[in-house]
Structures are given as C-alpha cells and as structure tokens.
Amino acid sequence: MTAPFFKFGYFNDEVSLIVAFVIGIFFGLVLEKGGFGSARMLAAQFYFTDMRVFKVMFTAIVTAMIGLFYFSWIGFLDLSLVYYGETFLLPQLLGGLILGVGFVIGGYCPGTSAVAISTGRIDAIFYALGGMFGIFVFGEMFPYITDFFYSTPMGQINLPDLLGINYGIIMLLVILMAIGGFTAAEWAEKLMAEKQSKARG
C-alpha cells in the first residue's frame, strides 16, 4: 500500500496546502468548463431542460467510486484511510432538503458559486453573502439544536455495511442506476425541447 500519500507521510502539512491549491484549480476548471458557473444552467436541471447537474454528478461519482475500488483491489490504496464523515441520518436528511430548496432559489451550491464569482456573476456574490448569513444563523442556534444535530448517529458507515451486501454488488447497482438515470435524462431533455419548440410555434 502506498496511497493515500499524505496518510503515509510522503509530504508534510505545508505541502498539502499546495496540493489542495493545485487540485482546487482543476476542480474550478472542470466546473466552469462544464457550465456550472452559470446559475441558469444549474437551475435548468430542475425544469428538465438541461440535466447536466445529474449527468456530471453521477458520472463523477461512478468514476471516483470505480477508481477507488480498483486502486484498493490492486493493493495500491488503503481504502480504510480515505476519510469520510460519520452518518447522522435525520440531520443529514433535513440538511439535504433545506440545501436543495436553497439550490433552486439561489441558483448555486457552494462550490459552483466560487466559480460563478470568479467569472463575474454578481448574483453569486449575494449568494455567498447569504451563505455566510445562513451559517451564522446556524452557529447562533447551535446551542439549542445540539441534540438534534447529534441525533440518529450511525458512525462511519457505507451502504455495503448497512445493507450487508457485497461492495462490488452495490457498485454495480449504482452504475446501473446511473445508466438508467442518464437514459431518463436524455429522454426528458428531448421531450422538453420538443415541447418548447411547439410552444414557440
């Protein structure tokens, strides 16, 4: 096992910040190139006119998921050293719902708003200011909602462990679900395009 490199001490904290910066540059490049600096493009997902958000997200998830599994399988990467947060089911369900509502009202999510600001979108500045306001409200409320925030703890758990199904089978199901979703997305876009061209006469 040689990866994750940082966890095996190949470089120190200072260097890790440079790594973060370089990976961030590629993250920004890809998001912008994909059209995610545009709130209208992102919002189009929720009106079925352009399903880019879904297509990009699920292709990315499937790619990284297969890559992780492969690197772990050939003994290159120790998957148990790759960090992800613990699950607290109820607060995460509610948080996702609130963020989703905010997504279609605000037009961005945090990462895409960074790209939108740097490409000149003025509304994204208001979005980021709002983001800080929302975090401030959460921080001020925190002492009163601490119990809920830590409710339904499940620890660091993944779907194979939860369902007691083999990691590979779950991966296969995710891939099949993604392909089904892509097919549905292409179909929905075509349907909406036809509907719009009809409406225009």
Binding site: I23, G130, F133
Partner: protein
C-alpha cells in the same frame, strides 16, 4: 499588459437558455463528469480525503464572530470547531486552499472560453433586485442546510457519494427532492 476588464468579454451572445446556443460552448457533460471524478479520485489518492466547498465560508463566519465577540465564539462548540485551538491560522487549511484554487481555475477556464462576463444570472422576466434577494435567501438556506448536513454538494454528495457513505447518499437524495419540490414556485426566476 492586460487589464482586468480585458479578461471579461463584453459581447452578449450567450444570453440565452433559448434553444441550444449556449450549450454548444460547454463540454459534453459525461466527459466533464469523468474529469471531475478524476479530480476527486486524485484528492483521495494523494490526500486521503475528498473535496469540500462550504467549509471556507464557515471558517470566515467563525473568525468574524471571534473578532467581534471572542468570549461568545469560544463558548460555542460550532465556532470553536472552525477556530481550532489557536495554535494555527484557521485559514491554513485544505478546504480554504482548494477553494482558492477553484476560484482561480474557474477564472482561467472562463477566460479561455470567453465566458468571463460581469452579469446577473436570471431568466428574462425577473428583475436584478429580486434576483439578488433570491440569491441571498437561497444562499442562506444553503449555508444553514450544509451545516446541518455536515457538508454540501462537494463534501457530502460527491465525496460521500463515491465512498458509498450512507449519510452522503441520504443527503444527495434529499437535495434533489428539495430542489424539484421547490422548482415550480420559483420558475419565474429562471424561465
């Protein structure tokens, strides 16, 4: 020497979700998804952690509260989590530097593709003032929701999703539920 304004184009060609004019400029979504997945994978392989975008906003808020009311911030577990133990600058962090990179990467890509433009993203029937208000409200909900969920689209959906995290998938499904459920009520903003 290039001036800042030269980096922003002034033509108005991409003024539309009308037809497929704009979409041509953007790269195929499956290719973008593949590249995004590889960026994520390289973060896993090099650092052993994924991406996160909302953390830097939280650090900014925590530092601001700590400047204005230090005792108040120090007594709050949430702010303290971002301020650390005071031995190092809270901004000297993976999340801050990766988002700084994302801002620059986005700018470079926008400059290459001629998409850097001072403008407001909205549908033709919506005023700028209302759009700013909606952006602020949506941002507030996002900030609140991301903290409740312990991460946003990058941290939970992409990172957690590809690691098959239960919380990441639960979060992601609810993001789509929330956004599709709300879409009808704000359609004037976008269409």
């Amino acid at each position: 020497m290039l001036k800042i304004k030269d980096w922003f184009s002034h033509h108005h060609e991409d003024n539309a979700m009308e037809g497929h004019k704009t979409q041509k400029h953007y790269t195929n979504p499956y290719l973008i998804g593949l590249l995004l997945g590889l960026v994520l994978l390289s973060a896993f392989v090099i650092m052993g952690r994924g991406l996160g975008a909302s953390g830097v906003l939280s650090t900014t808020v925590a530092v601001a509260v700590d400047k204005v009311a230090p005792a108040h911030a120090q007594s709050n577990e949430f702010y303290k989590g971002y301020l650390g133990d005071g031995t190092k600058n809270p901004f000297k962090d993976w999340l801050t530097f990766s988002i700084l990179g994302a801002v620059i990467g986005g700018f470079i890509s926008g400059a290459i593709s001629g998409r850097n433009k001072i403008m407001v993203e909205k549908g033709p029937r919506f005023s700028n003032g209302k759009r700013f208000l909606f952006a602020f409200i949506g941002g507030s909900l996002m900030g609140y929701g991301a903290k409740m969920a312990r991460g946003c689209t990058s941290g939970q959906a992409l990172t957690g999703g590809s690691l098959l995290s239960v919380g990441g998938w639960a979060f992601m499904i609810m993001v789509f539920v929330g956004a599709y459920g709300m879409a009808y009520f704000v359609r004037r903003q976008w269409t």
